[in-house]
């Protein structure tokens, strides 16, 4: 669907999924850090943080199923497929545009269209987050929720400890992604354009 330079990029299910995911992940990051600091006097107490973290974690995990199923039954999934040709050259070109080209008034190397929802760099970042980091956080988070299923020791290192470290390292990368994602979203025709798009579904090209 394309009208007046507007493309209906984000169908309702995707926007609902994105909203839940965003809210859930923000809560998970805040409570995750509160728990790591373990400070009773912090805004959120330890126990409250644990409860919020568990509930948000479960919500984000279930929501992830919506993302996977949605991608399977709609054509949204195809936007996450990487072409092997110029595997590294394409995202590099986009990075060069962000770092240099956009300030020199150069044209976008990969303008978005009905067929190209994400530029290559964006696509790589989304694949990394949605198919590597988030699933890893979900799996390790599930294991930490039921620690008795974790292997006791791996070469004499506590299995729980390894799982916990992996969980927070992966969570850290999701947080890093979130910051960069929020910033890059402000690049567009106007700084708020992309934020509006994910609410109303229409993307300005």
């Amino acid at each position: 669907m394309e009208t007046n330079n507007k493309i209906y990029f984000y169908p309702l299910w995707l926007r609902i999924w994105h909203g839940i995911n965003a809210l859930g992940i923000i809560l998970l990051i805040i409570t995750g850090y509160t728990m790591q600091a373990g400070n009773e006097s912090s805004l959120l107490g330890f126990n409250t943080s644990v409860n919020i973290h568990n509930i948000s974690g479960l919500t984000v995990a279930l929501n992830y199923l919506l993302f996977v199923i949605g991608n399977m039954i709609t054509n949204n999934g195809k936007f996450y497929i990487v072409k092997p040709k110029n595997f590294l050259k394409r995202p590099m070109k986009q990075a060069q545009y962000y770092a240099w080209g956009m300030f020199r008034g150069k044209d976008k190397p990969y303008p978005l269209s009905e067929k190209r929802k994400f530029n290559p760099l964006q696509k790589y970042a989304y694949i990394g987050v949605m198919y590597i980091f988030v699933p890893a956080v979900i799996i390790t988070g599930f294991a930490l929720l039921f620690p008795e299923i974790i292997i006791e020791t791996v070469y004499n290192v506590s299995g729980i400890m390894l799982t916990a470290v992996l969980h927070s390292v992966m969570g850290f990368f999701v947080f890093l992604f979130l910051i960069i994602h929020l910033y890059i979203s402000s690049i567009g025709k106007n700084p708020l354009g992309n934020y509006k798009s994910i609410i109303n579904g229409w993307h300005h090209v």
Binding site: G32, F46, N47, A99, N156, S158, V165, F172, I187
Partner: protein, 353 residues
């Protein structure tokens, strides 16, 4: 006990080890007076060393063969190690077989390896127990108290301080002198696991088994308190991952007040005062560092240089904060990301993009 641990070290004999050894044999200051080699003139030193060698080897000899090596031959254990005992009934003139009181049956293996294995039964119990039938009156004789030997010493164990703490505990407050050290520390079989083992799980299991021997045993609990047993599992229902906690931390961690200067606080708190805050342990400033992980043997384990032991020691701290390197890396990456964003934003403002 002590002797057997020290025995293997004799070839590497040196003064400090010897001093430690003597303190272990009898933790009294007077031993050390014999051993103030620094204050003794050189010509006397050899005499002292010869004497000490004599003492050490004679004790080693005793230890190599403890009183309890052959239970069947031991005058007490030949009866007190089995379910039944046989004696000659001189009144009726026949051999009589009787059931042994189960509380008086000794675990001979544990007895042999226990901390007091260098002592014979009659070193503490009346010598008159050598006769059978035992005279009724000797039951009234008081047994020596732990502090009779261990009190007044300046060993790292600090028994006097422990006793002071114990007197504040719920056990002493409720049961008074009837609650003796031996209610938890079995004199016959006690092992100093917490100060010798480097295996946390082993230390935890040994320590918790002392508490659970009553608190999870209807009969034993009833013997001391006269009340029915509280249900351990139900009471700790609030505790997430209960089983894992029970396997990895001691009851003491939450049920005592941490006391500086002694290894284990003996001030067992009333259940209402027990710690119920996750953050007390699951933080970098965890109370476990001042309790379970303050043992030198566990600290050494974390300091032996290998990464795996360093990190496996703090697995109770949540997330990457248990690995300081990752924490620092995380901060650096964040700073770099923010600096990158700030520079990019500055250029966008300058170029009005």
């Amino acid at each position: 006990m002590v002797m057997s641990q020290q025995k293997g070290k004799l070839p590497y004999f040196h003064f400090k080890a010897l001093e430690k050894l003597l303190m272990n044999i009898c933790p009294q200051e007077r031993w050390l007076n014999l051993f103030r080699y620094n204050n003794v003139k050189m010509k006397h030193r050899l005499i002292y060393i010869s004497f000490i060698f004599l003492v050490v080897f004679s004790f080693s000899e005793i230890n190599a063969q403890t009183y309890y090596d052959n239970a069947e031959e031991h005058q007490c254990l030949k009866c007190h190690s089995s379910q039944t005992y046989t004696f000659h009934n001189s009144l009726m003139e026949y051999e009589e077989k009787k059931l042994m009181n189960p509380f008086y049956i000794m675990d001979t293996v544990a007895l042999k390896t226990g901390v007091h294995s260098a002592f014979d039964c009659t070193d503490c119990h009346s010598y008159e127990y050598s006769e059978y039938p035992h005279k009724g009156a000797i039951k009234l004789e008081p047994l020596p108290k732990c502090l009779d030997c261990h009190g007044g010493s300046d060993t790292p164990f600090q028994f006097d301080k422990i006793h002071e703490e114990f007197e504040k505990s719920v056990h002493y407050q409720v049961y008074g002198d009837n609650f003796s050290c031996s209610k938890c520390h079995n004199i016959h079989t006690y092992h100093p696991v917490s100060t010798t083992s480097s295996n946390v799980a082993e230390i935890v299991e040994y320590s918790n088994s002392m508490c659970l021997s009553c608190h999870n045993d209807m009969k034993q609990y009833n013997l001391v308190s006269g009340r029915t047993n509280p249900e351990i599992v139900e009471i700790h229902d609030w505790l997430p991952n209960q089983q894992l906690h029970f396997e990895n931390v001691r009851c003491l961690e939450c049920h005592t007040e941490i006391q500086e200067g002694i290894m284990v606080s003996h001030n067992i708190l009333k259940k209402e005062n027990a710690i119920r805050k996750c953050a007390e342990c699951h933080t970098q400033n965890s109370r476990l560092k001042a309790s379970l992980y303050k043992y030198q043997n566990l600290q050494q384990r974390s300091e032996d240089g290998t990464l795996r032991t360093v990190i496996s020691n703090q697995s109770y701290v949540i997330g990457t904060h248990q690995v300081p390197l990752l924490k620092t890396l995380g901060v650096i990456i964040f700073i770099l990301a923010f600096v990158g964003i700030a520079i990019h934003l500055a250029f966008r403002i300058i170029y009005k993009k």
